[in-house]
């Protein structure tokens, strides 16, 4: 297993290199010029050209790409064109809020979606099942920003229970940290909860029709034991898969959620960087996201072996 994990990690390097080349090329050919944004609306073309030269943006594609790769190999993600700050420091500043949001959303999803899916499968065809699946369709259909605004209006403006915006690091206390994440996590989690609940229901329905479940029932095993010990474990592979794939959804959804709730995370940094054509920052973030995605896939593969001993690498 260890050698498998090492092989997978090594295999991520060419994947990341290809992603990096792709992103770099895409940005290079895309219209837009950071020098224009920096120079401001009133700047003359000469000013813009001088800024382009000072940033090295006038150099050929291969020179720029080569320089970037060389710096990456030396552990340097470069410097933001706009802030003049190291990209690694900027990502470091923004990682905490995004990770916090993703962790809270993930926990919320697992705690809410999996039991809902199990109950829906157990009561398949009943009113409870229809209600749960109805909510799932509803949650899946609503855009994150609509849910976000609704939550902010009800729980922040009307009831004044929770703040509208911002992020407080965990080092400043558990509640201040959590308080800022509850509404964004619900908004971001809606789609995710709906997806996981539906997959859980489908997987459980299939398992609940298996002979060994009938045998367990015949032996007089309790409903809870059947559902959560025997059935859920055997239905776990697709559930784990969809939770893993959902992390990619979370990264995408975080971009919108962080804007709606003014959370200073990586999602907002990405959007800002793209709109300003801050190439080093975009490249750094894309590299990070690719790495995270590859790692998540690796973790899912490892979890498969834990939930289903028949799977071996």
């Amino acid at each position: 297993m260890l050698s498998y994990i090492l092989r997978r990690i090594v295999a991520t390097l060419p994947v990341m290199a290809i992603v990096a080349l792709f992103v770099f090329s895409l940005l290079y050919i895309a219209p837009g010029d950071p020098a224009v944004v920096i120079a401001g609306d009133q700047a003359s073309p000469e000013d813009v050209e001088r800024i382009r030269q000072s940033l090295g943006l006038d150099r050929p594609f291969l020179v720029q790409f080569g320089g970037w790769v060389w710096r990456i190999l030396h552990g340097d993600l470069g410097t933001s064109i706009f802030t003049n700050l190291p990209v690694s420091a900027m990502i470091g500043q923004r990682l905490g809020p995004t990770l916090s949001l993703m962790i809270v959303t993930l926990l919320l999803t697992i705690v809410v979606a999996v039991p809902l899916g199990v109950v829906a499968a157990w009561k398949a065809g009943s009113l409870i099942d229809r209600v749960i699946m109805g909510f799932a369709v509803f949650g899946f259909s609503l855009p994150v920003f609509v849910v976000g605004y609704m939550l902010a209006y009800i729980f922040a403006l009307e009831l004044e229970w929770l703040p509208v915006q911002g992020y407080t690091p965990l080092t400043q206390g558990f509640w201040p940290w959590l308080e800022n994440l509850i509404l964004p996590a619900i908004a971001l989690g809606c789609v995710y909860i709906a997806l996981v609940a539906r997959i859980t229901r489908a997987a459980m329905l299939e398992v609940l029709q298996q002979d060994y479940i009938r045998t367990a029932r015949a032996k007089g095993l309790g409903q809870g034991g059947i559902l959560f010990i025997h059935a859920l474990k055997n239905a776990a592979v697709p559930i784990v898969t969809v939770i893993g794939i959902g992390i990619a959804l979370l990264i995408g959804g975080a971009v919108v959620t962080e804007s709606v709730f003014a959370i200073p995370g990586l999602g907002r940094l990405t959007i800002d960087a793209i709109l300003r054509r801050d190439y080093p920052v975009i490249q750094g973030i894309v590299l990070l996201f690719s790495f995270v995605y590859v790692l998540v896939n690796l973790m899912i593969d490892v979890i498969y072996t834990l939930v289903d001993p028949r799977i071996r690498y």
Binding site: D33, P34, F174
Partner: protein, 533 residues
């Protein structure tokens, strides 16, 4: 006890048990000493000379001071300077600094710092460049005195040093000011009333300023960038909120104290809240514009440009930007900021009265327009340009033009508008923008009015008459001469249609009622602003 307090208590207890971390005790009154402000945009960099973004200028006005400051009557007033002298021939300016000026690192402000700062500023500022072209020498006389010797008199010297248009002539320590003007500074040490807390800076999210205890304000009453800059809070936190709805909710909730520029759609909601004050933020407002490319057909023919002016309705443009609030806009038959001393409507008939679509169509036909595509660039991520772009597209269609509507983002528009290639080969025919009214009071910082062909702003208008009258204004010796010159600039620029002004519009600012001392001006002034608990 409300639900939020209960929730806090429960979660706090749970959190303590789980993490061993507790929320820090907040000193009583600390909230009242911190002013939380939502700026118009993200403070993405912090070099007020390197770039010209307004948001950078606004933040810089807290950290760096200027030799002179413009006041609310648009007059330059002494700020860091104690006195100035002009030689009889008007070519030599000798300035003396106020005693006791200090930088945030404790070092005194010396003439060498000022000379280095002015040199860096002049390399990037349009008026500074004019002074540089006219400069014989800029030298240190002693620690508090420096001298600027010119080849020819430059009557607008004090205005250049006082103006609020970016870049302002901020004074930095010599070691920082020696940075190449086209490279960013990395140290943010000024002598202004507040210090920049670099360690707390999260570009795109938050910027923090702390009161500078050693700042010695002038004795005069504060007036815009002039007078005594008294800081009445300990900290000013800029909280960047990309989503206007979130900013509105945060202001209503009391999570922020002051929102610089609420969008028109949300103003009615804010006005209904008894805890919030809403008022016009900047009385100098903004001038909407679209520029036509003078290099290529159809707008290389003045008749085509005039046809557009004859047909356009400024009311359509303004309503698209500000909605139904009539207090927020006015028609503008010219290029200069209304209600300022030099404002003129001379030659503005083409923009007044009933819009004549038939006459405009006839004039357009006379220009030789024969249905070729007109490439109209519109930045969809900028609500003001998007609103104007939609109106223009409709206008051109009604004129019988074949519109190639290019909806894209500001980064792309900003880049493409610099292309001098034909529209079909990556160039363009029109794009939309707007100019701060503060920049349009005179031609001094008004890049958009310049009409010197290849050297002009995007669109490259060539109007010798306009340029001649701008020069006359620079040489004017009194307000009467200035007024006359500006009238002639207005007339000439409209005759040649340097660009199309779409109207004058204002924006609101909003703050919690426990905040007092907010004044109207071209930028948010934090001196004199206080906050009660």
């Amino acid at each position: 006890m409300d639900r939020r307090t209960v929730l806090k208590g429960l979660a706090g207890a749970g959190g303590l048990a789980l993490t061993g971390l507790s929320a820090p005790a907040i000193a009583q009154g600390a909230s009242a000493r911190t002013l939380r402000f939502v700026p118009q945009a993200n403070l993405a960099n912090f070099d007020p000379i390197w770039g010209t973004q307004y948001v950078v200028r606004n933040a810089a006005a807290l950290v760096w001071d200027t030799l002179y400051g413009i006041d609310s009557s648009l007059q330059p007033q002494r700020q860091m300077v104690e006195s100035e002298e002009t030689s009889d021939d008007g070519k030599t300016w000798t300035f003396k600094l106020r005693p006791g000026l200090k930088f945030h690192d404790g070092e005194p402000v010396l003439s060498k710092d000022v000379v280095a700062s002015l040199s860096r500023w002049a390399a990037r500022d349009p008026m500074g460049l004019m002074i540089l072209a006219n400069q014989q020498e800029l030298t240190v006389v002693d620690d508090r005195t420096f001298k600027w010797v010119l080849k020819q008199p430059f009557p607008k010297m004090l205005y250049a040093l006082a103006k609020n248009n970016a870049p302002c002539s901020f004074v930095m320590p010599e070691r920082i000011a020696k940075t190449d003007p086209f490279k960013q500074i990395t140290e943010y040490v000024g002598s202004g009333p507040m210090k920049f807390a670099k360690g707390e800076w999260v570009p795109g999210a938050k910027a923090v300023f702390e009161k500078f205890a050693d700042y010695v304000p002038r004795q005069e009453k504060a007036s815009w960038l002039a007078g005594g800059k008294q800081i009445l809070v300990d900290r000013v936190e800029w909280i960047v909120m990309p989503d206007p709805a979130t900013a509105a909710a945060a202001l209503q909730n009391g999570e922020v104290d002051w929102w610089e520029n609420p969008i028109a759609d949300l103003v009615p909601v804010l006005k209904k809240n008894k805890n919030i004050s809403v008022d016009i933020g900047d009385p100098l407002g903004n001038i909407g514009s679209f520029r036509m490319n003078h290099l290529f057909a159809p707008f290389n023919d003045v008749r085509a440009r005039r046809a557009v002016l004859m047909a356009m309705s400024q009311e359509d443009y303004m309503r698209a930007i500000v909605g139904d609030d009539n207090a927020l806009w006015k028609a503008l038959p010219g290029f200069f900021t209304p209600d300022t001393p030099l404002y003129s409507e001379l030659g503005g008939e083409i923009l007044k009265g009933k819009r004549d679509l038939d006459a405009a169509k006839k004039l357009l036909a006379e220009s030789g327009y024969s249905g070729q595509p007109v490439t109209c660039l519109v930045a969809q991520d900028q609500p003001i340009t998007k609103a104007q772009g939609d109106v223009t597209a409709d206008l051109l269609k009604r004129l019988g033009m074949n519109v190639d509507f290019v909806a894209t983002d500001w980064g792309t528009v900003g880049s493409r508008r610099a292309a001098k290639t034909p529209p079909g080969q990556g160039g363009w025919n029109m794009f939309h923008s707007w100019h701060a009214g503060a920049d349009c009071i005179t031609p001094a910082a008004y890049t958009a009015i310049r009409a010197n062909g290849e050297k002009a702003w995007f669109g490259w208008p060539n109007s010798p008459n306009t340029e001649k009258e701008i020069t006359t204004w620079f040489d004017a010796k009194n307000i009467e001469e200035e007024k006359a010159a500006i009238g002639r600039v207005n007339k000439a620029a409209l005759e040649d249609v340097v660009y199309a002004p779409t109207g004058f519009f204002l924006t609101y600012t909003a703050w919690r009622k426990n905040v007092s001392g907010i004044t109207k001006g071209p930028l948010p002034f934090f001196w004199g602003v206080s906050k009660s608990a």
